[in-house]
């Protein structure tokens, strides 16, 4: 199962907005069935973002749940200036960054397993080629090295990489979530990629 399609410019909230607005209005009145539907709609993407930021399944589980709970409690303050999805994303991201700042020097990875499709992913097949210095490295080792490198990045830089290169959000959407301008998003993405490339050079193609 793939958690998020990495399509640039992909609309993060593809469902009908009127339907979503109705659900949000019902949830604001305390209708938990409506909120349950909203949770089901966004649970995978919120979980995935938090998981890729923390590299820890248990932490991601707690933070994702707490983000949804906080969103429900704060639903009355949701003015509808942005989409519910962006607003929810912002809550999850802020909660995760606060959590990561608190556990600064206590990083413990608890990685999820790779799904069956990983071995057949064309991107990964292209990666493990003759030109890769460490081509004998298994996917599990690659996964660990990649997560270790991601955790070395600062939270804003990691967030940009996760949202863009893993989750597939556009620069505009990331700017809304992070409450900054698009130029900042682009520069952070460039810097983060440079850093990752330097740290993971022996696992990357020479081309």
């Amino acid at each position: 199962m793939i958690m998020a399609e990495p399509v640039a410019g992909n609309d993060p909230a593809p469902s009908a907005p009127t339907d979503e607005n109705l659900l949000v209005q019902r949830a604001r009145r305390g209708d938990l069935e409506a909120y349950d539907e909203l949770v089901q709609r966004y649970q995978e993407r919120i979980y995935a973002t938090v998981y890729h930021m923390t590299s820890n399944h248990e932490d991601a589980n707690d933070l994702a749940q707490e983000s949804f709970i906080k969103a429900f409690q704060a639903l009355k303050s949701f003015k509808g200036g942005s989409s519910f999805y962006t607003w929810l994303y912002r809550i999850a991201v802020n909660k995760t960054i606060n959590f990561l700042k608190q556990r600064k020097n206590r990083i413990h990875m608890s990685l999820n397993d790779l799904d069956f499709n990983a071995e057949h992913d064309p991107d990964l097949i292209a990666l493990v080629s003759d030109k890769t210095p460490r081509r004998e490295a298994g996917l599990a080792e690659l996964q660990e090295k990649l997560n270790t490198a991601l955790l070395k990045l600062s939270e804003p830089h990691r967030l940009v990489v996760v949202l863009h290169d893993v989750q597939g959000l556009s620069h505009e959407e990331i700017a809304k979530v992070m409450n900054c301008n698009i130029g900042t998003v682009r520069s952070r993405l460039f810097y983060a990629r440079q850093q990752l490339q330097a740290w993971l050079s022996e696992y990357l193609n020479a081309t």
């Binding site: 999820n112 799904d115 460039f190 490339q197 696992y203």
Partner: protein
């Protein structure tokens, strides 16, 4: 600062690996249910904590309630005190009404005949008494009944009428 530089391609390929990291099977089947359960538990906790906060501010209230629960004598005494208090309140509530009726209807026939016989002589003391008693007794308005111009003041019989504000 072009993000699509070719030298980032292999990094993007490697980052694709992240999308294959998935939680345990069936994880999302219970996710929303757990969220809703935690929301409900939080609401219940919030209502429970209200009483806890009240008892924290007034520990004597908690001790009193515990004493009432554990010792039936205290509960009986408390109930008796409440009943006495209610009875006392009922008696007090009836008292002002009876005193005003007593004022409106003179208790002795002598007083009635005296008032009708010498109204002018009575007027100053009665007015003074009413003014003096206004703060504690019902207010009464002494005035001639519909005879302001047709009859002489000395012939106008006084009548007391209750006035409520």
């Amino acid at each position: 600062m072009n993000e699509n530089q070719p030298n980032f391609e292999s990094l993007r390929h490697l980052l694709a690996l992240k999308r294959h990291e998935v939680p345990p099977p069936g994880y999302f089947n219970n996710f929303s249910r757990q969220v809703i359960m935690r929301i409900r538990a939080g609401e219940a906790e919030a209502s429970a904590s209200l009483s806890e906060r009240l008892f924290a501010k007034m520990p004597w209230l908690l001790k009193s309630l515990q004493a009432l629960e554990t010792k039936p004598v205290y509960a009986g005494g408390f109930a008796s005190a409440i009943c006495l208090l209610l009875l006392f309140g009922a008696v007090i509530a009836q008292r002002p009404e009876s005193s005003s009726q007593a004022f409106l209807q003179p208790a002795t026939p002598e007083a009635t005949s005296f008032a009708s016989a010498t109204p002018t002589a009575l007027t100053p003391p009665v007015n003074q008494m009413l003014i003096a008693d206004n703060s504690t007794n019902p207010v009464f308005n002494l005035q001639a009944s519909s005879t302001l111009f047709s009859q002489a003041p000395s012939q106008v019989p006084f009548s007391a009428q209750p006035v409520s504000y």
